[in-house]
Structures are given as structure tokens and as C-alpha cells.
Symmetry: C2
Subunit: 355 residues, 2 copies
């Protein structure tokens, strides 16, 4: 970890993200003040050790606005007016709240957007964790006018919280998340919605592919409507481009399914290769060792214990599901240099390892 | 398991599926004969114990045609002409090979289609497994003319191989797999292909949702072009309906993102609820217990051992990935009645269990 951000830091909004930032900064020894318009939320965040109640007489170096997206711009402008302080936020869409802050009178030289890519669909300070941001991306989005030392402060904030900073401009960020998060959300929801017209028997013969493709369709509609509305035009751009590709594929299928379909599948392979962490990062591709275990308590453990005794770290685990229940088919992803050791070790220990 | 199918059974085509059917039938004591136009493939299937070389003098009760989709219809007609035998196949699309068989002169009363939903993207008898079909769906697709006792023979075949039979008519099957497998494949490929235009930084800030949505984009283009071409019109129907929904969402986003987007997200929730095995089958919804472990050999094992000692069977495991490498965040899916025992047990054993 680099030099901690210089405190004290004021966190405005003490919900999941605000309180987690407080806890992460406190872990690094940084002084933190908290505020929230709901006294009960503030009290809980303080009780959890996320910081002290804000005292208007205290000078702070940095203010983190951690309020819901629709009010982030106004609150940023409001707190920026208090003095020569740097102001950042944590909303998952960047252009519109930053523009709103400037429109509301904030000095753009002291405003730097932020998007810590962490958190789950639980809210409130009770769910806050000091390690919420550890090893997570934290996108830092300066305005063109943002002063470099202010940008550095927000980068330091991200790193002090344990995150990995990525600097982008706000519209670049919004296009990126439209592509990698917001458009996929709608595509998953629309695909899952197609199942509503199908009969039970048809849906019963689906497999792992459909389960993967519809997992994020479980997302909260109220939360996601807000996110999508805040980034509506970038998301529409991605979906339109996708829709054009889709039409070409449908036309080709109407002609019997030939070159366009094949090309789409090939391009899909190439695009998938760009996804970070699909089986490891760019530098590491994992190998998969497949084994069968009985679907009983302790059986899976015996496999993991064996892997541990062989000195092999498991990077990922996948349990195959059949007919709505888990099978005993377990895929273990490991670094290539240890896959042979794991495979041979498991075989010699009597495990049923598949080719 | 019910009464085994009456043998001897002839399996025409001794690749992955054919040899696996041979092994599964042999496991149940059924006599199996094998053929393949490639003598080396036949020899390997025989060497693996999948059956004996076919002798034209032997009378068989049932012939399973396990050849590539493009020749399945012709081969079915060819073998059906040999006598009063029942003929089935294993292709993943049903209408076109069955129609081709009848067009080529097969007696439709003795033809019953089949689709064992198992197998991976490995081919050849070396990859064959006697347990390949265990607990998997095996869709049985009679023609309107198929004689009931022939349909029963194919159901018995599926059950003897360890599979769970589902009876559908061929076009119903093809519409079902278009919805639950073929259209999702193209949607995943097209979404992944969209990433080809993005810069590295944009792709680097993606998360688990994108990984899930693009996993099946890794599929083999040659194999999938064949599957999609054989079911082109049903797949086009699903994609067109999806495309109409998508256009409505894009229009709504262009208006700022409101009611249509919200409704799509809500319908996505409802559709996802119909997916079998999403967290268990219709009867069982699993609960998730989340814990943090160190990313080191043996650490994951200690968690599984603890679960085993608590008498808790793990139904599913998910390792969260951050920045392309696994984090120590592990989600354990268990039956609701044991989730509290697991949670409290892990806490008392000193594990870091999240809310």
C-alpha cells in the first residue's frame, strides 16, 4: 500500500459504501468524520467504528459524497462551497452527477469523480466492511478542469481503502460500464423474460448455459432502473449496436444459418478471450481438472483436503448441476504448472478424475 | 433403475456418445454391438469395453444411430431397412433428421428420436464414460406414427443408460432447445463480440456478470454452426421475439429510461425464477452463506472440512473473482434448513462469515 490519503476525511452519507470507506480509512489510521441526514444511520456507522460525528469546526482535506445517485451532484456542490476542499463521490455512473455538481455551482477544479466497483445489494451501515474494496477496481474520473493534486488525493483515497485505481474520463467510464455491466444486465433480464412464455417441460430441459446467462436477471429492478436511467444513452448505444448484429444473425438463420452465424460464433470466442478473470487474468490462464465425488457431506471436502495436501491452490471451483440439483462433477481450476501434480495426485489417492 | 432395455442393441457410430451408450448399457448387462465407418474408432470403442464388433447375422431389438447430425437421417433410414427393428438417434436437433429419415424411406412406426442431454466438447471413444448420462435429461421424441412399444423401448434405453426420460414431440423439443440453449448461445457470442471494439481499460473494469454472460461464447464455432443451422427457424423465432423486446427497451432508454426498462427488469426476475437449478430445483431453493478465506493452498479445504464436520452438504460453491484473480470470498449454497447451522458453526470455528 502507498502513502495513506491525508486526513481528516469527511464522508457524507453513512450507508453501506460511506461506512465501508470510513472503516477502510480507519484501518489505515486516517481520521474520519461522518454525516448522514438520518441520525439512526449515522449512529450505527459511528457505533461500528467507521468514524466520528462531523463537527463543522473541523477542517477536512477531502470530502467523499456517498449519497444516492439522484442527489450526488447537488450534495457535491453543497459541500464544495464549504471551502478549499477536494470533493469526490462514489456513484456508479459518472457524467451526469459530475455535470449536475458543476451546474449547481461547484468549482470543477476541486471535483474528481469516483466509482469504487464493490458492494452488494445490501444497504445500510450494518452491512459495511472494512475490506469491501480490497483488490477491487476503483475508477477515478477527473473533470478536464480537475487539479492534478486533487486527482492524486482521490487515487490515494482509493489505494488507502485497499482498491486498485483506474483513471478514466467520466464519459469513457460510462461507456465502459454500459458495455461491461449495464447492457449485459438488460440482455440477461430480457432473455430471462422470454422464459415466461414457455411451458414447464420446455424450461425443464435447460442446462448450465441458461443458468449462467440469467443469473444477473435476479438483480433488483428499482436499483437498476436508476442506474440505467443515469446512463441511458450509453446503454442504448451498446444495445443498438448489439441489435444490429442480432438482426444480421437472424437474417442468416432465415437463410438456413451459414457464414454470418459462424462469424458471430468466432467473434464471440475472440471477445470472450478479452474478459478479465474468465479463467484467470491476462497473464494466467488456468487449467481445469475434473473429478467425480459423491453428493454427500464431507465428500467435497475430501477433494479439497487432497488438493491442499498436494500443495495445490484452487483458483476456482465449479459444481456441475443436472436436473436442478448438483451432480458430483467438480471442475477445479488451477495454475497450469500444478495441474499435472493435482491430476496425478488425486488419481493416486483414489479419486475418480475425468479426462 | 427400471427394467433394462432388451438387447442386443446395435450402436451405429462409436464416437463419444455411441461408445458412452455402449458402456452404459454394458454396465447394466445389456448385450451391445458396435459399428463405425472408421475401423480405428471402432477398435478403440471395443477396446474400452463398449461392446462387440457387429455381426450382420445377429438380430438386434434396437438400433441407436450415433452419427453426426448431417448424416443421421440417412443412416436411420438405412438401418431401418434391415428388418423389424426400432431405430433411434442422439442428435441435438430433432425435426430435420427425423424428417430426413422418413423422406429416405424409413418406416415412421419404427422410428423414435432421442436427445441425450449430456456430453462435452470432446469427441471420440477415448472420452466416453459409462456414467455420461447419469441423472441427465434424455428427451425422447416420437413421430405421430411411432408405435407405443417402440417409444417405450427408447424410454427404457434412456433409463438403462442412467438418464431421466422426457417425452416431447420433435418440433416441441426443437423450440425448447432454441429458447433454452441455442438462442442463449448466439446472444452470449454476440455480447462477447461487442467487446472486440472496446479498449483494454474499458474491458478491465468488468465483473462477474460479464464473465457469466460470456462463458458459453467459448463454444466451438464449427460444432455450433451445425447445431444452429439444423434448428435455424426456431432459433430465429426466439431471437426475433427477443429483438422486439430489446427495441422497446432501447426506445425507452432514448427517452431517459423509465417504465419499459423497469418492466423488463421485473419480468427478468420472474423469468429467472423459472430456471431449474438456479439455486436448486423447483422444490428446493438454496441459501447462501458467505465466508472469507485466505487465497492459499489448504485454506479453502479448511472451510469444506468444517462444513463436512458440521454435517452440512454443500450444494454449490462460488468463488468471487476480482481483477482477474480469485478473491477469498466464497459463497456456499446449502439447503435452507442447514444454513443457520453452517453459519453459526463456521463462526464458532473462527471463520470470517459475512452477513
Amino acid at each position: 500500500m502507498s502513502v495513506p490519503v491525508t486526513g481528516p476525511v469527511l464522508v457524507v452519507g453513512s450507508g453501506l459504501l460511506g461506512a465501508s470507506i470510513g472503516l477502510a480509512l480507519r484501518r489505515a489510521g486516517v481520521d474520519v468524520y461522518l454525516s448522514d441526514r438520518d441520525p439512526a444511520v449515522l449512529a450505527e456507522a459511528i457505533a461500528r467504528g467507521a468514524g466520528a460525528a462531523w463537527d463543522a469546526d473541523v477542517d477536512v482535506e477531502l470530502i467523499v459524497v456517498a449519497v444516492p445517485p439522484e442527489s450526488a451532484g447537488e450534495v457535491m456542490a453543497d459541500v464544495a462551497a464549504r471551502g478549499e476542499v477536494t470533493v469526490t463521490d462514489v456513484t456508479s455512473v459518472k457524467s451526469s452527477p459530475l455535470a449536475a455538481a458543476v451546474t449547481a455551482g461547484a468549482d470543477p477544479r476541486r471535483i474528481v469523480g469516483g466509482h469504487p466497483m464493490a458492494g452488494r445489494e445490501i444497504s445500510g451501515p450494518a452491512a459495511a466492511r472494512r475490506d469491501l474494496f480490497d483488490d477491487r477496481p476503483w475508477v477515478v474520473t477527473p473533470l478536464p478542469e480537475s487539479e492534478p493534486e486533487r486527482v492524486q488525493q482521490v487515487i490515494d483515497l482509493a489505494m488507502t481503502c485497499g482498491a486498485v485505481p483506474f483513471v478514466m474520463d467520466p464519459s469513457e467510464h460510462d461507456r465502459a460500464v454500459a458495455l461491461t455491466s449495464h447492457a449485459p444486465q438488460l440482455i440477461s433480464s430480457l432473455l430471462a423474460a422470454r422464459l415466461l412464455d414457455a411451458d414447464d417441460l420446455s424450461v425443464s430441459v435447460s442446462g448450465q448455459g441458461l443458468r449462467d446467462m440469467t443469473r444477473i436477471a435476479e438483480s433488483n429492478p428499482t436499483l437498476w432502473r436508476e442506474i440505467l436511467a443515469a446512463n441511458a444513452s450509453s446503454v442504448a448505444d451498446v444495445l443498438e449496436a448489439f441489435s444490429v448484429d442480432l438482426e444480421h444473425v437472424v437474417e442468416d438463420l432465415r437463410d438456413g444459418g451459414g457464414p454470418v452465424v459462424f462469424r458471430a460464433l468466432e467473434r464471440g470466442n475472440a471477445g470472450r478471450d478479452r474478459v478479465p478473470g474468465k479463467h484467470g487474468d491476462a497473464a494466467t490462464s488456468y487449467e481445469v481438472v475434473t473429478a467425480i465425488v459423491k453428493d454427500e457431506p464431507g465428500e467435497l471436502a475430501s477433494l479439497f483436503v487432497a488438493a491442499g495436501e498436494l500443495g495445490v491452490n484452487l483458483e476456482d471451483v465449479r459444481i456441475d448441476h443436472v436436473l436442478g440439483r448438483p451432480s458430483g462433477l467438480i471442475e477445479l481450476s488451477v495454475r497450469p504448472e500444478v495441474s499435472r501434480r493435482l491430476r496425478e495426485g488425486l488419481v493416486s489417492l483414489g479419486f475418480d478424475v475425468r479426462d
